[in-house]
């Protein structure tokens, strides 16, 4: 097991713990925005796609990489925008009502 793999396992373990702790506390009110936000965040696979698409190491990899960039970018943009659109709608009663 290369030592970088050991580090990666630690990171995975800890991030999963953080995820469970943080997400368990999200109010049910916001479960739909939660889905779209995590969706946007997991579109971080964009960084992997960018390196492949920009590497131009082979025709195949460039094509696949570019498609991957399209898919991931659509999620990044779409995910954040729609989450914000939803959250903008959640309002408390105006005071004095």
């Amino acid at each position: 097991m290369p030592s970088s793999l050991e580090g990666a396992l630690f990171v995975f373990l800890l991030a999963t713990f953080v995820g469970f702790e943080v997400i368990r506390r999200v109010s049910p009110l916001l479960h739909t925005p939660l889905m779209s936000l995590t969706n946007a965040i997991s579109a971080i696979s964009l960084v992997g796609s960018i390196v492949i698409a920009g590497g131009e190491k082979s025709q195949l990899s460039t094509v696949l990489g570019t498609i991957a960039v399209v898919c991931a970018m659509a999620n990044v943009v779409g995910g954040f925008v729609i989450t914000d659109r939803m959250l903008k709608m959640f309002k408390k009663r105006e005071p004095g009502k």
Partner: protein, 461 residues
């Protein structure tokens, strides 16, 4: 310099993503959460753009422009009632991206991949392709492009599981002999196929749970990509996504009192002839005038929205009703069941869209004690989440599911189009109670008529 900047930007981005989810937990900080998430993403992208492997920005630019052109309009113009479909589609996108990156990596380094890397890569590719077609199928079922009822046949589970076993077996062989590149398309193809077959036997209404599961798979696939590329940021983001999907599906299963296995292999919502209807019990149906008269006199009203409100897009009319009743001095609250509608938090988003203040939306534990004191419980397009059979009928498929105590209110009104059952395909004894008035009609239309009566009479007074 560049590598330092990359590493630095990735660490900060990981921290920002965590903060983003943390702040999402409460409505007052939620939008800050989105801002911070965007910042993290921007930072990560900037960091990546200086990567030494990148020789040209041409295709990156093309991809980004195209991607934005797809994602932005979808996010801006999509009606809120289509959120489940959009979520399914975006999982398909995310999973495909992960699978394609894995595929490129494999062909770029064929043979030069270590065992562990190859194992992670296989996981990434299998989960990625499977989630891709699975999510597309889910999208199809929700959008009614594919028949949404479960399609089952004898031996289906055996066929599916064997197929999956073959895919995994091939992948294991490939891990041990990474040079056998001919096997790679087999693994990819089988995974794509399995994704389709996995979803076919699942009913349209079970899609939300499945979508959450697929969400979790997409996250795991991204995390596996992180292992392949030795990129910790990907691992963190993937793990966050993975745990989020997992938690939401567990919440849904628990609120429906069903198990994962039952959702995946149960063929729920198929034939299931409603048994009780045979006896033809009588119900009391009422007109908008009659209902309005009772609502006028009520001082406390609890509204129970359900899937029907979403279908009818009645949320804005419901808001008008809320305003009218509130103006008359009635106390109006909304009872939100965790699985009302077709995805977690579905009702909350719709009602928020209609500008109903979120402190009026109460969860099951908070609202149930209030029902006995309520003058009217107004059910709008909800069904299963109000079915008292869940409390006492051990034979019922929803037995044990926590439900809203609608039957305890002084008067129960139910707006729906017919006597046909809801998602679980069973009869609802609530409708046969003496205190229940059935208000037959489309939710939007009927609430509109109620409004007309209420405001009309308002003028008359």
């Amino acid at each position: 310099m560049a590598p330092y900047f990359i590493q630095f930007s990735y660490i900060v981005a990981a921290a920002l993503f965590i903060l983003s989810l943390k702040w999402l937990s409460h409505p007052t900080t939620a939008r800050r959460g989105v801002r911070v998430g965007e910042l993290g993403m921007a930072l990560a992208i900037l960091g990546t753009l200086v990567h030494q492997d990148i020789v040209s920005y041409r295709w990156i630019l093309v991809g980004c422009v195209l991607g934005s052109a797809i994602g932005l309009p979808m996010a801006v113009f999509m009606p809120m009632t289509h959120v489940p479909q959009r979520t399914a589609l975006s999982h398909a996108f995310g999973a495909l991206a992960a699978a394609l990156v894995g595929t490129s990596e494999y062909y770029l380094h064929t043979g030069a991949l270590g065992t562990f890397t190859m194992a992670a890569l296989s996981l990434e590719v299998i989960l990625g392709y499977l989630t891709f077609t699975g999510s597309l199928m889910a999208f199809g079922k929700l959008q009614d492009l594919v028949p949404s009822r479960p399609i089952v046949y004898r031996g289906q589970n055996v066929v599916n599981l064997s197929l999956f076993a073959v895919a995994v077996g091939t992948a294991v062989y490939l891990v041990m002999h990474p040079g056998q590149s001919g096997l790679f398309p087999v693994v990819a193809g089988l995974s794509l196929l399995f994704g389709v077959l996995l979803i076919i036997p699942i009913g349209g209404a079970d899609m939300p749970t499945v979508i959450s599961l697929l969400n979790s798979y997409a996250g795991l696939s991204a995390a596996a990509m992180g292992f392949v590329l030795d990129n910790n940021l990907l691992i963190v983001a993937g793990a966050l996504d993975g745990s989020s999907g997992m938690i939401l599906s567990v919440i849904m299963c628990r609120a429906m009192n069903r198990s994962f296995t039952n959702v995946l292999f149960g063929g729920f919502g198929q034939v299931q002839k409603a048994v009780g209807t045979a006896e033809q019990r009588s119900v009391r149906s009422a007109t908008p005038e009659e209902a309005a008269a009772i609502l006028e006199a009520a001082t406390s009203v609890i509204v129970i929205p359900g899937y029907g409100m979403a279908v009818a897009q009645a949320q804005h009319k419901v808001r008008e009703l809320y305003d009218a009743l509130t103006r008359r001095g009635a106390d109006v609250k909304f009872a939100i069941h965790p699985v009302a509608g077709r995805m977690p938090g579905h009702m909350n988003v719709l009602l928020a869209e209609a500008d109903i203040p979120y402190d009026r939306l109460l969860e099951i534990e908070e609202i149930n004690p209030d029902f006995p004191r309520a003058d009217v419980a107004l059910v709008i397009g909800a069904n299963d989440v109000t079915n008292p059979a869940a409390r006492h009928d051990r034979a019922s498929p929803i037995y044990g599911m926590p439900i809203l105590d609608v039957d305890k209110a002084r008067t129960v009104m139910v707006i729906k189009r017919s006597m046909s059952p809801g998602f679980a395909g069973i009869d609802n004894e609530l409708y046969y109670m003496d205190r229940t008035m059935m208000l037959f009609g489309d939710a939007k239309v009927f609430v509109g008529e109620l409004m007309k009566e209420l405001t009309g009479s308002h003028v008359r007074v």
